[in-house]
Structures are given as C-alpha cells and as structure tokens.
C-alpha cells in the first residue's frame, strides 16, 4: 500500500487541478454547504432540480485533493441523472469507503479511483464531504434557504 500510488492516482490529481462543474449556478433551486471542522474544509453544492432530475450542479470551496477530486467526480456522475440514482451512487460510494462493499463490484465508474481512501480512515471524511453537502441539498425544501452540514454530525 502506498499513498502515492493508491490515494493520489493521476485521475484524482487531474480532477484536483481542474475540478469539473466548479463555480456557481445562476439560479440554484437547492444548495447546501459541508464543513469539516477538524481541517476547515468547506464545500458548497448548488443544484438545479426539476422533476426529480439533477438538471445542473456546481460546487465551490476549498479543500484537500481527495475532497476536491471526489466532489468534482461526483458532479460529473450525477449531472443529468435522477435524484434517486444520485442517492444510490452515494450509498455505494460510502459503502466502498467504509469497507462494506467491494470496490470491484460497486457501480462507481471513475469514482473507483478513490477506493484507496478506505485504507486511510482519517481521510474518509474528506472524500465524503461533497457528498454530504449534495445529500443535504437534495433534502432541502425548495424554499431558497441554504443548509449546512458538518462531517462531525455524520458517521461515515
């Protein structure tokens, strides 16, 4: 096992250097912020939901490479898909990181490149931060208010 090969794969670093869907939506219908108090990472996710579909998604924030890459790949994976599919993907991703699901068998696509995080318990929070914000945004009532979630509130 080596952090250099398992954790920081080239595809992960490439997403960290050039995160996809980074920025703000003009008129988000849902949004939420995730924070990791121990390291100060903050990720904000903005969504445009319509008819149970993630029509558009953007994110902003400052975070480590694992968090940035995970959130970047997350936006690619859920954009244009149904909310229910996004929630299922989140469950598979989390199950892989917590060791409950075999990465070879989970339908993760490109996100499988982050499976190495499961060997680094202190970094699992990093990989899940953007996903927490996404789940929290989806759960928001469509009242224009922004929610926030902390990694301290949720067991990985």
């Amino acid at each position: 096992m080596s952090a250099e090969n398992d954790l920081y794969q080239e595809v992960v670093l490439e997403h960290k250097r050039a995160p996809r869907n980074f920025g703000h939506l003009e008129q988000p219908t849902h949004q939420a912020q995730g924070t990791n108090p121990s390291c100060g990472d903050r990720i904000s996710v903005e969504l445009q939901l319509a008819g149970g579909t993630v029509e558009d998604i953007r994110f902003t924030g400052q975070a480590c490479a694992i968090c940035m890459a995970s959130t970047s790949m997350m936006t690619e994976a859920v954009k244009g898909r149904e909310v229910a599919a996004a929630q299922q993907l989140q469950q598979h991703f989390r199950a892989v990181l917590t060791g409950e699901e075999d990465p070879e068998e989970a339908p993760l696509g490109k996100l499988v490149s982050l499976a190495g995080v499961r060997q680094y318990p202190s970094r699992i929070k990093c990989a899940l931060l953007g996903w927490h914000a996404l789940m929290h945004a989806i759960a928001q009532n469509n009242d224009g208010g922004a929610g926030s979630v902390s990694t301290e509130d949720i067991q990985p």
Binding site: A3, E4, D41, I66
Partner: protein, 421 residues
Amino acid sequence: MGDTDQFLHTSQLPVQALRAQFPVLQQSINGAPLCYLDNAATTHMPLAVQDAMRHFEQHDRANIHRGVHTLSQRATDDFEAAREVLKRFIGAGAQHELVFTSGTTEALNIVAQGLWAAGPGKAWLRAGDRIVVSALEHHANLLPWQQAARMSGAELVVLKPDAQGRVHEADLQALLTPNTRVLALTAGANATGERPPYETMLSMAAKVGALTVLDAAQAVGHTMPALSGLGCDFMAFSGHKMYGPMGTGVLAGRRESLDLLYPLRLGGDMVEWVSLESAGFAALPARLEGGTPNVAGAVGLAAAARFIDGVGRPALDQHLQALRAHAVAGLSAIDGLTVLAPHATQASLVSFISPHVHPHDIGTMLDERGIAVRTGHHCAQPLLDLLCQGPTTRASFAVYNTHEEVQRLIEGVAHALERLK
C-alpha cells in the same frame, strides 16, 4: 536545499543518548523510522517520567488528604512534593499557589468560568466590563472568554495581529480602558510560533487593574521568566506538551487572584464544613481541586519538570531553535511554499502553507515516509483566517529530534508539493 548542510551535527545536546529515554521513537511507520514532529500537540514521555508514575502506582497509591493510613500519607506527600517541584520549575513566589488540573484547557476554563459563575453582584466580571484577548489564541483561551462575556454582559475585544501575525503594544494600549477587567494572552502561539511581548503586555493590563491570564502551554517547557517576575495573575499549562503525562496540567497564580475564582468542581476534598443546606469552601489549593485528583499524573508532571531541568532549558532551547532555523531555511527554499512567522526565531515549531497543495495531502504524503506532522487549523481558526485564510502544515520539535529528521521533513515536503501540485 544544499545550503542547509550547515545545520547538520551542530547540537550541543547528547541527542542520541536522550533518544534512548523515549522507546516510542524506536519504531518504523510505513517502513521508515518514525520521525515525530508533532510535539506542539503532544510530546512523548521519557522513561524517567514513566518510571516515576509506575513507582507511585506500585508503592504509594491511595487516596490523598483523608486517610490516616501510611499509603494515604505517602500519596499525599507525593502529591504535595510534586506541587513544590512545579512551583520551583515555574519560578513561583510565596504569593503564588499552584492547582493541578487536567490540562491547559481546564485551567483556562477554571479561570474564565470562575470569574462569572458567582453570579451578578459577586462575580469579578460585571455587565459593561471589558475582556481583551489576542487573536493569536488557541481556542482554549478564546471560547471560555466568549462565554464569559455572554454570561456576564461584559464586552469581548480582540487584539488583532498585523499581516505578519505580530501583536503590538501600541495596539493593546488603545484597547486598555479603565473598565478592562481581564487580559488573556498566549506566551507562544501554537499555530505560528509567534511570541507576543507578553511581559510588557501583562504589566500594561495589570496597570489598568485588569486580571492577567497567560496561556503558557507552548512556553513552559522552555526558557521563560519566573512567574514571580511577571505581572501575571493566572498561568496555565499542560503536562503532555512538556514530556509529561496526558490529562495533566496546572493553573498557577497569585493567591488573592485564585481566591476570586468561584470553584467549578464542588464536592469532596474542597470544603471546610458541610451541612445539609450549605457548605464552606476550603482554602487554596484544595478549593479548586474538588474530587480525587490524578496523583500519578502530578507525580509524572513533576518528573517531567525535573527531566527538563536535567537537560537544561538554555541548551534545550538552543537545540530546538537550531532545528527550527534549519527547517525554515530548507522549507523557504522550496518553490511556492510560505513559512508563517519566519521572524519567530525563538519558536520550536514551523507552520507553512502552499497555495496549490492542501495540508492534509502533505500530511498524508509525509506519513507515508514515517514523518508525523500536524495539519489543519491547530485549534486557532480565527488566527489562520486572518493570516492565510485556511489551514497550515505544522512541524514542531522536541529534545529528541535531529537535524537529519529536519532534512527528511524538507525533502518530504518538497516531494509532496512536486507530486501534488
């Protein structure tokens, strides 16, 4: 990095002999010898400290201040002897008392809460009073004062640093009004290594009638003025940052100031008399030491003070400052890396940032090479928000660290930045 060779093999300390006192260091992490550079969070304990604690547990353990039997007397003697050792260690005078706590955090909470908990009309803090804290503080010397202000109706005012993270006497002077009742200040900022001119600042605050609180967690293991020479009402520090046990610490201060504190832990061993309706509190230090204390911890803390005195604080500081200078020189030479507070040459830690690489990633890459550093906010989020808008990587040094280890740090950081940028 070649220009740092001058730092190799220059220590005055018998570092290799000292390392033998720390068995925990004799291990590999991820296939490399452990290079422990997280000493500002927790230092390791030498065998002398572990032996002293084990001796207490195996020969003298009993509850203190109550039994008439021999072990209780021995345990009481051990506890009070530890108190005397630590009083001498910090240069306390006859006007001072020393209270054992679980650490700096508890000590600072005993002070801050003790100044409002007696309630309106009785507590030291009143509505409209001013509490001044610096922005360099660890959360443990900030949050209790935020609460004290809320509970008492006092106003919390912050002494802000300049862009380099320094605090200035003139800025403090402007904040010190006649109704300033507390100044809470660090003797060394854990996030940057900044050392405020605390001797002068405490005196300035004392002059306007404020109580002065010094967080000495990062300073007490190093050369510092005797407590009796400072305008200091309360001084707090931890055992585990000075080669002592975790969960131990000290609140020392002037007796008359400690007597102002409403005790937070009410119960056994801190009373003169008790009736079903009421109670009279005991005199210091018992007044602030309710409940059975961590006697083995106090014994270990005293042994840690003796260990530091045995090494010698001037020689220890010279060693640590040379390691820091080595680290600052090597890290500053890395493209895209910024060292915070490079001017803080007295510090035994170095905190740094890179615009392109997050500290957590650096920390994981260093751990891969067996190097332990701290990454994040270091419980000083407001300061880092002011200075660099985010977390840092911090390497901090202790008696057992070597220039070879600093070289490994520099090379490890350079590699991480190259790989992750």
